[in-house]
Symmetry: C2
Subunit: 104 residues, 2 copies
């Protein structure tokens, strides 16, 4: 999981289909077929979006036989959000709280 700049993070999030995938994979492992069925877009499109999220370190793949299961990396999300807050809301109270927890 490589570090993600605020720009890369924002661009990875800036698509409805990708956010749908992220919500769907938030607390569970989901196969590509399940994601295809849930999003309603074609399988290649899902694969494309998964590649983007995977490159951003936002989802983790787990190959299992013919299928590949994906899940959202909540820690990566939290760290990136914390970074956003430090850059764009440095004087906010919540930013301090997040920094204490996420940055060590």
């Amino acid at each position: 999981m490589s570090k993600l700049s605020p720009i890369e993070f924002a661009k990875a999030l800036a698509d409805d289909t990708r956010q749908t995938i992220m919500r769907f994979c938030c607390c569970e492992w989901r196969s590509v077929s399940e994601i295809v069925e849930h999003t309603g877009v074609s399988q290649p499109t899902v694969s494309h979006h998964l590649a983007i999220l995977r490159d951003a370190g936002l989802v983790t793949p787990r190959p299992e036989g013919r299928q590949t299961y994906y899940t959202l990396d909540q820690q990566q999300v939290a760290v990136c959000c914390g970074q956003l807050m430090q850059v764009f809301a440095p004087e906010n109270q919540a930013t301090v709280a997040v920094k204490d927890i996420l940055i060590r």
Copy 2:
């Protein structure tokens, strides 16, 4: 300052020029001319991006004579980041801390 969905927030952040503007206006009031000079893009382009950020409630305009000064709304940023964390990192420790501060 209207409420901002995770998608709208991400799309507003998903541009280098807009992030440059946001950083430049983070803790100070900046005129459009200053922003034009700092970003290096044309004045109409800056105006365009400011309109997007303004519609998202991420920057606050303060007209003063012929000039308009803008500053970043750190509270709006923090709230949106908090929302992102609750949606995409609900099991993370930092999310709980942010929620306690931002959501009332």
